[in-house]
């Protein structure tokens, strides 16, 4: 019987992981087919669409017009961690994202902690995004048909409603697609990205007509603390740059392409966001942002005095947020699948329906929980929870890069973090800095949530872990 410390810090060997998933055996060998442009599009596509449409409403009241700087800071931190992701992804090319990286580098208990963070990053964020979708759908219906979904059916209880029905319907639709076996090709993804970018450019061009320098007069009413605090919320809208790193196995010439694609995506996204933020805060006094539904669309409506730009924006948002909910929900089911496969969740999570080839029960459970969250909890709280979960996951990845350099210096790495160890350290510092700027209550709830995951680990995961029982899953060893 291994000692407790050995047990909770046992690491899953990287070779075991790669054998399990057939990464090196050629069983599922992937063609290196993705080029720089496509990869950058993945990054941009994964990033734009979650936050920017809905986040200004939350961030501007915190920082005032200085929210522009919040965007820069959040972007820089996101970029640093994305580079760390790139190295880990190229060294440990397995499913499960940072959960698997943590399992391989830090041990079982930290991996469970990261899993708790990822539940926030994916599960809670799909709920948050679904709530944002509901706001835009309402806006679109109002503009097109002149009807609105009654408040009681389109808002969480705390905001005066009863149940956020559109958000729940969206989650249900996505779950249905996932059960049927959703597969989106890279081409469709690229088209969607173009729509998203087009919509934001439209906002910038039209919103510029409403420029009023007076709105920028009181630039940073809450000082530096306000900027940091807003950066924490905005960070939510930069999640997705790490998508670039996860395609490491399929990229042509990864050493050059990966960092370049991350930089291109980062610069494109940051530029767009900052332009959107500048235009928005210049067009509308800062105090009006608070509590505004479908913020960007409302701004355009006030600027032009007509509804068509707002309608276009709302339609673009409805399409793009739909796709985002779909992929975050997808991500959540697959992470739970990976955890279930390691034995630390009940077997129901890694059961595959033989007919549809999808984890049906897993998807239904996830969709049910996400629906409840989306229906009952307001968006600002969801957004903050997502931020902190992601930040901690990023933190772990940045630490993981350094751990893996020490423990497995010999592993082949398609991409190495430049300026090691400065960049990972900066990334860690950045994450911690943003975390401490978040609401005290958010941090408290987050710690409680991680504690729940750890209790779960000791009650269930520790005893059932396949690694602990020396059980082998997946493809047989050669």
């Amino acid at each position: 019987m291994a000692s407790l410390v050995q047990q909770v810090f046992r690491r899953k060997p990287v070779t075991e992981m790669t054998t399990e998933t057939g990464a090196d055996t050629g069983k599922s060998e992937l063609a290196r087919s993705i080029g720089l442009f496509q990869l950058s599009m993945f990054g941009i596509g994964a990033t734009i669409g979650t936050g920017i449409f809905i986040i200004l409403t939350e961030a501007v009241p915190e920082a005032g017009p200085a929210v522009i700087w919040s965007f820069v800071i959040a972007g820089a931190v996101a970029g640093l961690t994305a580079i760390c992701y790139a190295e880990l992804a190229s060294a440990v090319p397995v499913a499960g994202s940072s959960y698997s990286y943590a399992y391989a580098t830090l041990g079982e208990l930290p991996a469970m902690g990261v899993a708790a963070c990822l539940l926030l990053e994916y599960g809670v964020s799909s709920a948050a995004v679904a709530v944002g979708w509901s706001q835009y759908l309402n806006q679109l219906l109002d503009n097109l048909l002149g009807v609105r979904i009654p408040l009681s059916l389109s808002q969480a209880p705390e905001q005066g409603g009863v149940f956020n029905l559109p958000a729940v319907i969206l989650v249900a639709m996505c779950a249905f697609l996932l059960i049927r076996g959703a597969s989106e090709s890279a081409k469709i993804n690229a088209v969607m990205v173009m729509i998203k970018i087009g919509v934001l450019v439209l906002f910038i061009v039209v919103g510029l007509q409403g420029w009023n320098s007076d709105n920028l007069a009181d630039f940073a009413p809450f000082g530096f603390a306000g900027i940091t605090s807003a950066a924490g919320i905005i960070f939510f809208s930069y999640i997705g740059l790490d998508a670039v790193s996860t395609a490491g196995e399929e990229v042509k010439n990864p050493r050059r392409t990966m960092p370049l694609a991350i930089l291109i995506a980062l610069v494109t996204v940051t530029t767009l966001y900052i332009l959107v933020a500048v235009v928005a805060v210049a067009a509308q006094p800062a105090e009006q942002f608070e509590g505004q539904e479908a913020g960007l669309a409302t701004i355009l409506e006030n600027v032009t005095g007509s509804t068509w730009p707002a309608t276009t924006l709302a339609a673009g948002a409805v399409i793009s947020i739909f796709s985002v909910t779909l992929v975050t929900l997808y991500g959540q089911t697959r992470i739970l699948f990976a955890i279930g496969r390691d034995g630390m969740l009940p077997a129901v999570f890694h059961k595959v329906n033989p007919r549809t080839l999808t984890p049906v029960r897993n998807t239904i459970i996830v969709a049910a929980v996400v629906s409840l969250l989306a229906g009952l909890i307001p968006i600002d709280f969801l957004a903050e929870m997502t931020s902190i979960g992601t930040l901690v996951a990023f933190l772990v990845v940045s630490i993981g890069v350094m751990v893996l350099r020490q423990t497995h210096p010999e592993l082949p790495r398609g991409f190495k973090v430049p300026l090691y160890p400065v960049l990972p350290l900066l990334s860690i510092a950045g994450c911690i800095w943003i975390i401490q700027g978040l609401d005290g209550i958010t941090i408290a709830v987050f710690l409680a949530w991680v504690a729940v995951a750890i209790v779960w680990y000791f009650l269930y995961g520790r005893g059932h872990s396949h690694l602990g029982k020396h059980e082998h899953v997946g493809l047989p060893h050669d």
């Binding site: 399990e20 998933t21 057939g22 990464a23 599922s28 992937l30 993945f42 596509g45 994964a46 992804a89 090319p93 397995v94 499913a95 499960g96 994202s97 076996g181 959703a182 597969s183 989106e184 090709s185 890279a186 993804n189 999640i239 997705g240 790490d242 998508a243 790193s245 996860t246 395609a247 490491g248 196995e249 399929e250 796709s323 985002v324 779909l326 992929v327 975050t328 997808y330 991500g331 697959r334 992470i335 699948f337 990976a338 496969r341 890694h350 059961k351 595959v352 033989p354 007919r355 080839l357 999808t358 984890p359 997946g474 493809l475």
Partner: protein, 304 residues
């Protein structure tokens, strides 16, 4: 037993006759080659209809003469002309008269060579025939004396597919052929934007493959414990990003016949081509036999 071959005077008929010969050689069944001609209308004064009818009959007779030349000497076949309102109805009437248990058809000439292509007659029969339907790929030919070497049963892991496999095993035993149980994993790459990379889907696929492998082992054991199991039973899983690729992935040979079951949404006593079966059929490079659900159950009960 008897099988009915729907014969039309073109290459479609030729492949149907070749398939019937291969099946009959294995099973020893009688073959009835049937040309269906339109039924006469009400007789009129001008006897125009009768002339037209006589012409049709002569065409049919010529077709049957051709068929006679096509059927190999070692096959006992009868040839008949039948009048009916429509070709599928006529074939089923003849099948009823001869207590046949199989209708053999060729592929439509509208598709590519080497694949099974549905025409109007086969489409109608595949969704309503009370007896099994065999379809030859377009341009199908079998060498003289060749017989059914292997029966492949398409298996999707459902309980009702278990029964189909047992029924297919029974057919294989009767044809003195080996049995292969095949499943198809059709999956494609998913969205990259979920930030998980492309591997999670491989994980799901592996889990599916493992589960399916387990189910295949079980059903194989079930077949092995039959009173008269086929001489050889193998299992295979075809992987691919499309049905065409997945079906290509399992190797096919001369003398192969693919058996697919009817969809459980159709009536028990008739064949009904389900959506998956349609895809399998469309990409099958070998002759396909679609069996009614009720008949498969009956066969499985007898065999078990």
């Amino acid at each position: 037993m008897t099988m009915i071959v729907g014969y039309a005077p073109d290459e479609r008929g030729k492949s149907a006759v070749h398939l019937a010969a291969m099946l009959a050689r294995a099973s020893g069944d009688d073959v009835v080659v049937c040309a269906v001609v339109p039924a006469p209308w009400q007789p009129g004064m001008a006897r125009v209809d009768a002339e037209y009818q006589a012409y049709l009959d002569s065409v049919a007779d010529r077709a049957l003469d051709e068929a006679r030349a096509l059927v190999p000497d070692d096959i006992a076949a009868t040839f008949l002309r039948h009048r009916a309102r429509s070709a599928p109805a006529g074939l089923l009437e003849v099948a009823g008269e001869h207590a046949a248990n199989l209708v053999v058809l060729g592929s439509s000439s509208a598709g590519v060579f080497g694949h099974v292509v549905l025409g109007s007659v086969s489409d109608r029969l595949l969704h309503s025939s009370p007896i099994s339907v065999a379809l030859a790929p377009r341009g199908f030919r079998c060498k003289d004396g060749s017989t059914v070497a292997r029966v492949t049963a398409a298996y999707d892991g459902s309980a009702h597919a278990d029964r189909l496999v047992v029924a297919a095993a029974d057919i294989a035993t009767r044809l003195a052929a080996s049995l292969r149980i095949a499943s198809f994993a059709v999956w494609s790459r998913v969205a990259y934007t979920s930030r998980l990379g492309t591997e999670p889907e491989d994980l799901v696929l592996q889990e599916w493959t493992a589960t399916m492998g387990e189910r295949l082992r079980e059903v194989r054991q079930q077949v092995g414990s039959l009173a008269a199991p086929p001489r050889d039973v193998t299992t295979v899983i075809g992987h691919g990003e499309s049905w065409a690729a997945a079906i290509d992935d399992v190797a096919w040979d001369d003398g192969d016949v693919l058996v697919v079951g009817s969809s459980p949404i159709g009536p028990l006593a008739q064949v009904f081509l389900g959506s998956r079966a349609t895809k399998i059929l469309r990409h099958s490079p070998v002759p396909v036999v679609l069996v009614p659900r009720g008949w498969a159950e009956e066969l499985a009960d007898q065999a078990g």
